[in-house]
Symmetry: C2
Subunit: 433 residues, 2 copies
């Protein structure tokens, strides 16, 4: 096995920006053939409802459902999965759920209002979504932690009904996933997946109720379907490959840093793991750790492909420069493995989640620290946020004018409306003057 040589970039080189952008580049362009097939499936589910949903499910998941009713799992089946879980897993799942829930409580938006001197009331009313849909992948990528992370913020927000879909390829359910759905108090579970499940959640069928928003990860068919139903329903982000960026001052055990890089790299050949340090000798040490630890890893092939294809070591002059590079990258996960992480965090503007200090492995955040593991990827942390309770709430503006308020505001509105040649607006306001 050849040793891994990490791509080295120098933050002070003239071509640094260009080389960095080349390494970050990620082609998320659409596959038009998939686009077309997904459009067909959505159209068919809209037209034929359950019949289409059952046809696609039986074809793609090799199942033999005959009626819509067979697609739903009973609450008893969820409870059974929970009751028969080995106790170490049950305790870990419950502890994680409790911590994610406790953190999420801090995110709840509250309604507010205030009254002006003339008696006019202004405010903002916050309400939960009536119904949300949660997509959970089946097969290999079935992650119970993902069920918790997507379901709990919805429940904390007070969503009226939370509907989960999870495909059961070959008819096989995943007990850990069902147990997680039980712990997270998911209301209804349907054993469907793919674009057909997204279409069913967006438009409803005889069996599956239409929801207001769909969240959760999925393959390219699911992601494409979510994009295509957006507008009919809300969606969460479309996630790119997972990313970790570590800033280390050179004083952390290089094995720890190597394993933290692995923990993202093992997700996927396209995952991106980058280390920044002002200490070139330390970068060499981490490379040595990588090569020493790699042969012991179960997913060594994936890790190797990720690190050699998309990984990088960046040498910078100091931590201030490291922070600026991090802000340009805007990573999904950012570890600050340094002596004074608070000071460094003050300089970070763009990152999905910030893991501070040598003890805070990114993996803790993936499972049980409390904050959500659904985070903005592909530099979208420049403008978007982790999944949270606020994604399952929405706001309505409140305006209640007193007679005096309508008089005062009406005069202003009239001037501005006439400036825009919208005379019905003006006259509507003037009626109240």
């Amino acid at each position: 096995m050849t040793a891994i040589k990490m791509l080295r970039l120098d933050g002070n080189a003239a071509d640094f920006e260009k080389r960095l952008q080349a390494r970050l580049a990620w082609d998320a362009s659409e596959d038009l053939e998939i686009h077309k097939r997904v459009l067909d499936i959505i159209g068919d589910v809209r037209n034929r409802g359950d019949r289409a949903l059952i046809d696609y499910t039986n074809r793609f998941d090799r199942t033999a459902f005959k009626s819509g009713a067979e697609l739903e799992l009973s609450s008893g089946e969820l409870k059974l999965a929970w009751d028969t879980l080995p106790s170490a897993q049950a305790i870990a799942l419950q502890t994680a759920a409790d911590r994610v829930s406790a953190y999420a409580e801090h995110q709840k938006l509250q309604s507010w209002q205030f009254t002006e001197l003339d008696g006019t009331l202004l405010g903002q009313k916050v309400t939960p979504l009536d119904r949300a849909g949660l997509y959970v992948p089946g097969g290999k990528a079935a992650y119970p932690s993902s069920v918790l992370m997507n379901a709990i913020p919805a429940k904390v927000a007070g969503v009226g009904e939370l509907v989960m879909v999870v495909p059961t390829p070959g008819g096989e359910t995943n007990p850990l996933v069902l147990a997680a759905a039980y712990v997270a108090r998911v209301d209804r579970v349907f054993t469907i997946g793919g674009a057909q499940a997204v279409a069913a959640l967006a438009y409803g069928t005889e069996t599956v109720p239409a929801v207001d928003k769909i969240v959760g990860p999925g393959n390219i068919y699911v992601a494409t379907a979510k994009k295509l139903v957006f507008g009919q329903v809300g969606i969460d982000m479309i996630a790119g490959p997972s990313e970790i960026l570590i800033i280390c001052d050179g004083q952390t055990n290089p094995d720890w840093i190597a394993m933290d890089l692995f923990s993202q790299a093992e997700h996927d050949e396209n995952a991106q793991a980058i280390l920044i340090s002002q200490d070139a000798v330390f970068l060499d040490k981490v490379e040595a750790s990588i090569n020493q630890l790699l042969p012991t890893m179960e997913r060594a092939d994936i890790i190797r492909a990720s690190l050699t294809g998309r990984g990088a070591f960046i040498k910078v002059a100091d931590l201030a420069q490291a922070a600026e590079v991090a802000n340009r990258i805007a990573p999904e996960h950012l570890e600050l493995s340094v002596e004074n992480p608070e000071a460094l965090a003050d300089n970070i503007r763009n990152a999905g989640a910030i893991f501070m200090g040598r003890y805070t492995a990114e993996a803790l955040g993936d499972y049980c620290a409390g904050p959500n593991h659904v985070l903005p990827t592909s530099s979208t942390a420049r403008y978007s946020s982790p999944l949270g309770v606020y994604d399952f709430q929405k706001r309505s503006s409140l305006i209640n004018c007193s007679a005096a308020g309508a008089h005062n505001l009406g005069k202003i509105a009239s001037v501005l409306a006439r400036g825009e040649s919208l005379t019905a607006h003006a006259r509507s306001a003037e009626f109240r003057v």
Copy 2:
């Protein structure tokens, strides 16, 4: 001129749901030809930068720009527009700006954090976007109020730089729009528009800086371009036609209600104005008012087309039923023209903005009440919110584990990671146990 006969729906008829949905249906399907042309423009601006931007601008806007520098308006030009504004308009604009700003201050998200017993810190850090772009239409649809509504939340959020683009067809600028940009403290203004302006904001050119998010209304080319650059940058909603839903108990002056319906209908033939009442006689009175007032309106043709093509009167049994119909429609603007609007508002879950009481004309909210006039349309109020300060802020999760915290959490993470066969995750956590 033939009298307008409003479409009448009965909330208790067997076919009500079907007829209501037919009236609400709005086809927002893409025009593939436009899609392709916009893709070409975006690709060209990415490749050729300023040269492409100048070429398209000169072609579409009939201008004769030669260099990138000519595309930017100086701050002196903005100030001049403001200084030469008639004083009634200046006062109205400043008052509106002050009120929108005061309301927006209430929306600012704050960072928070808490420390657990074992010393582990969890929190959420809120930061403004580094740079935002604001699209402002030129020509007929140039609305200074729209500049205020889009720019002020960004400035209140603390966005580092706010870049506005506005086309100048035939080289003509709109003094009211420039004055509004001055009042709203927009940082830079470029005289470009269309898909080429969106592409320039998303990817940057030699002259136009790349932004993190693009907001603001535009025609089908602008809307398509925004959809296509989404991901590279954030975008606000893609707005459908404007809508008003009025619930009236029959005790408001029918002329007021007719004019309020007009105030949305005058925007656009596709705008939707709907009135709900439990009082059938009142519906007749409003129809009479409509026919009496319509000939006096400057935009009578647009209003007529909107009311006959997409308007409706809905007769319900009582106000409780009216609220449920409103929740199903999830309107952009909802007027509660009733005796006790507070009680009725308690039953409203889905609406962009709620105008409470007989004095609160929707037009007041369009200009100067304070809440934003950029609101979710086409039933998207089921899951989305008015434009606000929060659209120009983003959150980063904070996790700082103590040694004891990493020990406790590491054990849980290890169990869950091994349950998902992610052993690098498990070992990364175990290193800290």
